[in-house]
């Protein structure tokens, strides 16, 4: 039986209320969906709630799943929509001030490809935190594409299915998003070009 057949069997068992099948599905997808939610929401509690809600929606509508994409891709789409709606709600009720980190305490070194040193690792850690914050400031369509590509590792075809857009659009969004974040890296390491 191929992957599609296995998935169809799993779906059928879930729809029939087989708890073992539910647990298997949750075990398979929960970490990935959580990382996607973290990429978009940036907070563990929020991401966990969104992940739980994603599974609830999946199980509510599983009987109507047509199989046009993989089950995971479909779940991703649900997760992204939930996260984006959640962010809109938060944005309306909260004012969040996000600023670029200054270079206090962070030694900026030249980038030397090769074996990472402990300093490089610390730098990457801080940079990673900074970039994830910057990611959440990008236009929403770029965020979703980048999260699915860079964090979840989906193929461009899967991302196109998850977002309901063409392959070319996905590639363009990922590339443009990466370019913007590359500039963020540059500013973080070197400072803005206009700084005196």
């Amino acid at each position: 039986m191929d992957g599609k057949g296995i998935e169809a069997g799993l779906i059928q068992r879930c729809v029939q209320g087989d708890e073992t099948a539910w647990r298997w599905l949750i075990g398979e997808y929960r970490e990935r969906l959580f990382r996607v939610a973290m990429g978009l929401l940036g907070q563990s509690t929020e991401a966990e709630e969104a992940t739980q809600e994603t599974f609830v929606q999946v199980f509510r509508h599983l009987a109507g799943f047509q199989g046009g994409s993989s089950l995971y891709t479909w779940a991703c789409r649900i997760c992204i929509n939930l996260c984006l709606r959640r962010r809109e709600r938060v944005r309306r009720t909260q004012q969040r001030e996000v600023s670029l980190d200054s270079d206090e305490g962070i030694e900026r070194t030249a980038i030397v490809p090769g074996t990472p040193t402990p300093e490089d690792t610390l730098l990457e850690k801080e940079l990673s935190r900074h970039l994830h914050q910057a990611l959440r400031r990008l236009p929403i369509e770029f965020q979703a594409a980048l999260v699915l590509r860079e964090i979840d590792g989906l193929s461009y075809e899967e991302i196109a299915q998850a977002l309901g857009v063409s392959l070319g659009t996905v590639k363009s969004r990922v590339h443009r998003g990466r370019l913007i974040l590359k500039e963020q890296v540059k500013e973080y390491l070197e400072g803005p070009a206009y700084a005196s």
Binding site: R35, I111, L146, L181
Partner: protein
């Protein structure tokens, strides 16, 4: 090779989608062009840093909490389905009862006519033969 074209290849290089010939040209340009090389290093760093997982993890009880919630939802949807089925059965029983009533009522209406026809027929009069020793 022009800088703009090389920089358009950054994503494809990171995704390992360049053909062998393109890879050669790309690498050759980066070797000769410090500006593009620097831009590409920053691009790779952004890509790598973003792939690094953020701090945060699902709570230990996540799965059990979720399963409990799904059981509750399932229990509610089961009740609804049972009520729907019971309603349908009641409807079918009601229609069946009406049909039977109609058929029975129809036949009952016919029975007295049949009885009266037999009484007035000659066959019954002939059955009553006078005894004549």
């Amino acid at each position: 090779m022009r800088h703009e074209r090389v920089q358009r290849w950054f994503s494809r290089a990171v995704d390992q989608e360049l053909s062998p010939r393109q890879q050669q040209r790309f690498a050759a340009h980066l070797t000769d062009c410090p500006e593009c090389r620097r831009e590409y290093e920053l691009f790779v760093l952004a890509h790598r840093s973003l792939a690094r997982p953020e701090a945060g993890a699902l709570s230990a009880g996540f799965t059990e909490e979720l399963v409990a919630r799904l059981r509750q939802e399932r229990g509610q949807s089961l009740s609804t389905a049972t009520e729907r089925d019971a309603g349908r059965l009641r409807l079918i029983a009601g229609v069946a009862a009406l049909v039977l009533l109609f058929l029975w009522g129809d036949r009952a209406h016919l029975l007295p006519e049949l009885r009266s026809e037999r009484l007035t027929s000659g066959e019954i009069e002939m059955r009553v033969t006078p005894w004549n020793p």
